[in-house]
């Protein structure tokens, strides 16, 4: 079996009876820290890497353009 294989505490549920339902996941997702899921995460190194790299390339492009075409 794979990583996600032990659903619903089968040790206590077994094969008899209905799968217990809850709203636990929904309630947990109401926490403020999940409010911005999917938005840009500015704290990652990847984000800053792209931004700083873009800035460096942009400045270099302007400098080279000014040097050779003015």
């Amino acid at each position: 079996m794979g990583v996600f294989s032990e659903l619903g505490n089968s040790r206590s549920i077994g094969s008899i009876g209905a799968i217990p339902k809850s709203d636990h996941a929904y309630k947990i997702l109401q926490a403020p820290k999940f409010k911005d899921m999917g938005d840009v995460n500015w704290s990652t190194g990847e984000t800053w890497g792209v931004l700083i790299s873009g800035a460096v390339v942009g400045v270099a492009t302007v400098l080279l353009f000014n040097r050779y075409y003015k």
Binding site: M1, G2, V3, F4, S5, E6, L7, G8, N9, R11, A18, I19, P20, K21, S22, D23, H24, A25, Y26, I28, L29, Q30, F34, M37, G38
Partner: protein, 217 residues
Amino acid sequence: MADGSILRVKFKPGVAPQKRFEGVVRILTDLIEDGMRDELVRQKAVQILNNAGVRGHDELGEIKAITKWVQNYMVYRKDGWNVEFFHTARRLIRDIENGTSAGDCDDFVILGGALLGSMGYPVGALIVDSNNDGVFNHVMLVTKTFSPTRQFGDSWIPIELIYPEFKIGESVPISDVYPLMANVETTRAPIMRKALSGIGNILGYHPVAGLLGYKRK
């Protein structure tokens, strides 16, 4: 995207559970992202919604219709012992149409996420701890509507796909969640093509899956 692709991840002995987990969830969201950009997947989503009679702009109706379709038509089968199989959304749709559907919870999330994502909804994999033992052992889908609804407001909605009797918002009892959102704007190559370019090709492995002992079928 290659039709009928399957990733088979076989874990090397001694790979830490956390390392396995991180590798697996990354592949999972990559496959959702690939599926939501696949024209065939979008066509299937439109067909499902039209067959269900969902009106335009009925966001909750669209989410419910696609959830019901996945719950009712995809068949839950466990992965092989110590092996993790991942199917593309396109493959999962083809298997359903051919009557050979089989997949575990991560495949359900790939299909549901790709179908909803192709219709414009933000989607992600919601990894959960359902045994209250500190181990993430199950994955659900998570999505939201753009307009607030009476039932859910503008909250994220967890969706349990492997049980047809579960409505959206319901889950098994869980103690912790680990959300990983799919990013439709990703510019990376589709995961099934990664073995054909870059380091992945040299090694014969997907860069992430290689850590796990991934072999392409």
